[in-house]
Amino acid sequence: MSYIFLQNYWWFLIALLGGLLVFLMFVQGANLQLGNRTFSDLQKRMVLNSTGRKWELTFTTLVTFGGAFFASFPLFYSTSFGGAYWVWVLLLLSFVFQAVAYEFQNKKENLIGVKGFRTALMVNGFLAPFLVGTAVGTFFTGSDFTVNKVAIADPASPVISTWGNSWHGLEALGQFHAVLLGCALVFLTCILGALYILNNIDDTQIHSQVRRTVKLCIVPFLAFFLCWLVILLVGVGYAVDEAGVVSLEKYKYLHNFLQMPAVLILFLVGVVLVLWGIFQGAFTQSRGGIWPAGIGTVLVVMAVFFIAGYNGTAYYPSCTDLQSSLTIRNSSSSQFTLQVMFWVSLLIPFVLAYIVYAWHQMDKKKITPDEISGTPHKY
């Protein structure tokens, strides 16, 4: 296996993990329903127990997504995490509270009360997709950093990757284009969460409410996403040539779609599936909209990662120093390490199979008011 093949393969897996992560953030979107005032406490608890049986998969996918970047593209891990410090810290803080909120919130000894933990879940419901979306948005807008590997030989200033400002990532909140993607992701996860609840909980009142949520989110989601897409396609992108020299190229991402028709098809199929899932949830009696919308989300996110990194593109551009931009060629692990990980990655279908099996076993019986009232095994 050539080095180039392995680098491309691992970028493919990063894209897949990114897609799965965004899909699994239906947990975050569904948790925003905890603020729905028309829900009784029992209904909120049904929502909580529904997402409570899936949150670990989202959390684990996030950890694996970070771990996969560390393993396959360590220069991104060291540059982005150490540089855009506050963005990642904020994201982690929201997930940390999520991790304990399920177990703690209905215990009277929990010190900050049910409302405290439910608020934490809702904050996570908004912040997680918003920050992930905005951070991925900077893959196209660029960030303020420089990379100088020889710095490690300088005892006075040994850090290889340095951030150019003291906002340490928060400046991305001022990048209109990146924020558009963050906002689009918030509404998309809200829709996915509503579709998931529709599928996983047996309660007609909840069904009518979450269908309403889907309808309410369609326009803002499409508006933010289409604005982001149009600006992306007509804007300037970061091209990298065979010698590794990075330059600005007008319509770069449009060119990427056109020069990689398979990616364009993947993207369009993904968009159609998402819209189909939304249509099913909002305007039909079907409860299965989560599946086309979920699969579509994975495909769209993968296509977005592909145009960010493939076809001679710098996936983590530096707007301070173009030549510091990260590409899948200059930021990856060595050929041998990628090769070892390639063999390990062949286990992924097996892992997916047992997750699907366990999920199927657990979800054969939908969550009902009777179950939540009766079972001791609940959050």
């Binding site: 049986r53 899936k54 670990e56 684990t60 950890v63 694996t64 970070g66 771990g67 996969a68 560390f70 393993a71 396959s72 360590p74 891990y77 060291s78 540059t79 982005s80 995490f81 150490g82 540089g83 410090y85 990642w88 810290v89 982690l92 803080l93 940390v96 991790a99 304990v100 177990e103 703690f104 215990k107 009277k108 000894e109 010190l111 900050i112 590997k149 020889v150 030989a153 300088d154 040994p158 850090v159 290889i160 990757s161 951030w163 692990s333 060595s334 041998f336 390490t337 990628l338 070892v340 990980m341 390990v344 990655s345 892992v351 047992y354 366990a358 076993q361 657990m362 019986k365 095994h377």
Partner: protein, 493 residues
């Protein structure tokens, strides 16, 4: 206090909190899996209810372990940017294996174990319970492969083109995953988790017996807890012995600090506490030879010749060679002159094993805080032996039906619960403080491993994380105590 200090203290605090929750996860996972297995074998609902009670406590603890764990993983990137680049290629494969094999196994089967009693078959549920524990154990192995590599960086080559450590061959990968330091650390950490889980079950059961509540539940739980804890104690001692030998071989300064040994020699004595020594014991523990040579702090600073005649340079000499390596690296990376480049590469390869020393300001920087390591080591051993004794007596008391008569033992078991946590913390202090100033032994000191952040930023996040983790710990203890006070019937709300 600078950014290096705050980065270190933040990582240390996160790791210390994480290790408050992980051992109980590892230990209770085994205890409850055994109990659920008994339920299936004996078809007795008593064992189902018993397993469910301990599972309830497991779930309370598990959540905080996950919360602290994710921070720990991401702090490698957020606070140790240079380190992340330098080691990324070495940790890639172990982390990929951990993520794919362990994380998803834990996450998937925990949900089945906790919510699946009425949703899946008994056998599938039992398999899920075992797989939750096995997932946690596999995860521990791979993270300790990474930790073991930091203590003893085997199978690596420094690549000046990429400026990082790289794994270049299948034999190097094999060296990394079978690194003797990693293997003994894995057994030491996992089995110390069994001890913590065992003494936790024994202590909680003892509390019920002191209150004359749930006697049958408490006695049977205590029996299983004592057996798991004792097996763990035996394995901890064996793997601890290996760890001592490995420290002598790969991290002699850590051993010297743990012993407070200023001047070493042949037939070195082991200091139990200052003033009380066992002749030749340190040489036996470190080299398995009563007359083996054990270097002290001054020997390492000034250089010495070991038993096999190998001359170990002084730290000052290593620093000089390290600086040559850094200069050579700088020239190699910046010059366009092929002959100058070749010369620089040669000089780099000659001195690269001491490159990390080139970043030190003075030789004494290689000496870790001796007092902290010395006393942590003694507390770890002393408390560990006390806990093993209490576990043994608990087993005898259950066996001989003496629990009613030996009230003092029941109190001792209760007191041993917090002591087990102190023991675990002391163990990690010895392992991690003892290897300062190195993030990677000999290759990368802490002052070069950091991110380009201000001290104020890291100080702020330190206090935020400290407040959150302390809050979580306080809540966990309150909920755990409340659940224990209610007793096994709390499984029915």
């Amino acid at each position: 206090m600078d950014v290096i200090f705050w980065s270190r203290i933040q990582f240390a605090m996160t790791a210390a909190y994480h290790w408050l929750f992980v051992p109980l996860t590892l230990g209770l996972a085994l205890v409850m899996a055994i109990m659920e297995t008994l339920y299936l074998i004996k078809k007795d609902d008593f064992w189902k209810k018993t397993a469910q009670f301990w599972m309830k406590l497991f779930a309370i603890n598990f959540a905080v372990g996950i919360a602290t764990g994710i921070i720990l993983e991401f702090e490698f990137g957020t606070n140790w940017s240079n380190y992340s680049w330098f080691v990324g290629d070495m940790f890639g494969a172990p982390l990929a294996i951990e993520g794919i094999l362990a994380f998803f196994m834990e996450a998937t089967f925990f949900a089945v174990m906790f919510f699946g009693w009425d949703k899946v078959g008994k056998r599938f549920h039992l398999v899920s319970t075992w797989l939750t524990g096995i997932g946690a154990t596999i995860s521990a192995y791979w993270i300790l492969v990474a930790n073991g590599w930091m203590q003893n960086p085997v199978g690596t080559t420094f690549n000046p083109e990429t400026v990082r450590s790289e794994m270049a061959s299948a034999s190097a990968f094999w060296e990394v995953i079978t690194n003797p330091v990693a293997v003994s650390k894995f057994f030491h950490a996992i089995t110390s988790g069994w001890v913590t889980g065992g003494i936790f079950v024994v202590g909680v059961s003892a509390w019920y017996l002191l209150r004359n509540r749930h006697s049958e539940f408490a006695k049977k739980s205590m029996l299983i807890g004592a057996i798991v804890g004792l097996v763990g104690s035996g394995a901890v001692m064996l793997s601890g012995d290996s760890s001592g030998v490995h420290a002598a071989e790969f991290q002699p300064m850590k051993l010297a600090a743990a012993e407070g040994l200023q001047d070493g020699g042949n037939g070195a004595a082991f200091t139990i506490v200052p003033g009380i020594k066992v002749p030749k014991m340190l040489s036996i523990l470190a080299t398995h030879n009563p007359d083996g040579f054990v270097p002290g702090i001054n020997d390492i600073l000034n250089g010495y010749t070991d038993d096999e005649g190998n001359v170990v340079p002084s730290v000052a000499e290593k620093m000089a060679m390290g600086r040559e390596a850094l200069v050579a690296l700088s020239i190699y990376r910046t010059t366009d002159d092929p002959s100058e480049k070749a010369e620089a590469r040669y000089a780099l390869e000659e001195n690269v094993q001491y490159m990390g020393y080139g970043h030190l300001e003075k030789a004494e920087d290689v000496v870790p805080p001796v007092g902290v390591v010395f006393w942590s080591f003694r507390l770890m051993i002393g408390l560990g032996m006390l806990i093993a004794l209490v576990l043994l007596l608990a087993l005898i008391a259950v066996w001989k039906d003496k629990l009613g008569a030996w009230k003092w033992l029941l109190w001792a078991a209760v007191i041993c619960i917090p002591l087990a946590y102190i023991t675990g913390q002391c163990g990690w202090i010895v392992a991690e403080v003892g290897r300062q100033p190195w993030t990677i032994q000999g290759l990368l000191p802490v002052n070069v491993a950091i991110s380009s952040l201000s001290a104020g930023a890291v100080k702020t996040t330190f206090f935020i994380f400290l407040a959150i983790f302390t809050l979580f710990l306080a809540i966990e203890i309150r909920i755990m105590v409340s659940a224990i006070k209610k007793g096994p019937e709390t499984i029915k709300e």
